[in-house]
């Protein structure tokens, strides 16, 4: 009995991870979107088609993440992971930072009398959308970093800019920004590695849960 309870507790904790901190293949997708946004935004001219692609990337990722969670990783029923005190604090800190940025860019856009063109409105909307997405879906720091980049790249592309890619002419004009932007593809690679590891961990978990159902059926 004791062993069965211990196993159930461990299975529940492991399964619950896929509701928040573990993304599996959706993390791989998020990392790939981040790399794509970094390269496309930095290397291609800012055409309307590119803007649409860059805005679609974070939204596609979030939708795919939600779909994969519901229909694949949490197929036996939703189990929400418990958040530790450290994770809760870190998440609040990330949201606070995103909120501060959203407020400051909004105040800046409105107070300097900038003409509210479509580009500026889209920029502000994406800045606020990041706060919402961060609060609701981007629960781990790595998810938050990658999500932040995806939304920021989409937002700046709406205003006609992009984060510079190392080795390009734009990077030569603003080396500190190019160096800072380099952090995002690195975070994307880490997220991909974590996603692959999580997905590998899910398969034995899924088999064990199916065995439990089999046992129950036989009983």
């Amino acid at each position: 009995m004791r062993e069965k309870l211990d196993e159930l507790e461990s299975l529940t904790r492991e399964y619950a991870r896929y509701s928040r901190s573990a993304g599996g293949l959706s993390s791989v997708l998020g990392g790939a979107c981040c790399l794509l946004a970094y390269l496309l935004g930095g290397l291609l001219p800012p055409t309307p088609a590119l803007r649409i692609v860059l805005v679609a990337l974070p939204l596609t990722w979030l939708l795919a993440r939600r779909g994969m969670e519901r229909h694949y990783y949490q197929r036996f029923g939703h189990v929400e992971e418990q958040e530790g005190a450290v994770e809760r604090r870190t998440h609040r800190l990330c949201i606070g930072a995103a909120l501060l940025v959203a407020v400051s860019v909004t105040v800046s856009a409105l107070s300097h009398g900038a003409r509210l063109s479509m580009g500026v409105v889209a920029y502000l909307a994406l800045a606020w959308l990041l706060v919402l997405a961060g609060w609701r879906w981007l629960r781990s720091p790595l998810d938050f970093v990658v999500g932040t980049f995806l939304f920021c790249q989409a937002a700046v592309s709406c205003a006609g800019f992009a984060y510079p890619v190392m080795g390009t002419v734009a990077a030569g004009l603003d080396p500190p920004m190019a160096l800072l932007a380099l952090l995002f593809p690195l975070a994307a690679l880490l997220l991909i590695a974590r996603g692959v590891a999580d997905h590998r961990r899910f398969r034995p978990l899924c088999e064990r849960l199916l065995q439990l159902r089999g046992k129950a059926g036989a009983a």
Binding site: L8, T12, L209
Partner: protein, 113 residues
């Protein structure tokens, strides 16, 4: 601990938690923030009716909270352990560990006879 006090300790165990199915439900719930009924059904091996009956008893005892809603047209039942539930499970574990610790080994019990 002598035999009467051991019996007393066993009798003092929280019966609401002591029942294996309810213990299993609490052990699952204590490791998550919220659990859908379907997952409990999956891991417990209990039938829907049996599981509902045990959940109802735990809810009546204030150890779990049950939230009923709809996802589209599908009814959705989500469960969450309460602070009282966490405490009851922790107390139960502690009491049971003490009882088990005080039990004489089978060989010792046979020699006494």
């Amino acid at each position: 601990m002598n035999a009467p006090s051991r019996i007393g300790a066993v009798m003092a165990l929280d019966r609401l938690v002591h029942e294996p199915a309810r213990l299993l439900i609490l052990a699952v719930l204590v490791n998550a923030r919220e659990v859908e009924f379907g997952f409990l059904e999956q891991v417990s091996g209990l039938s829907k009716g049996n599981l509902s009956s045990h959940v109802g008893k735990l809810e009546a005892g204030g150890l779990v909270e049950v939230k009923k809603s709809f996802r589209g047209k599908r009814p959705l039942t989500e469960l969450r352990i309460t602070a009282a539930g966490r405490k009851a499970l922790a107390d139960y574990r502690q009491s049971l560990a003490m009882v088990v610790q005080e039990l004489p080994a089978p060989g010792v019990a046979a020699k006494r006879k």
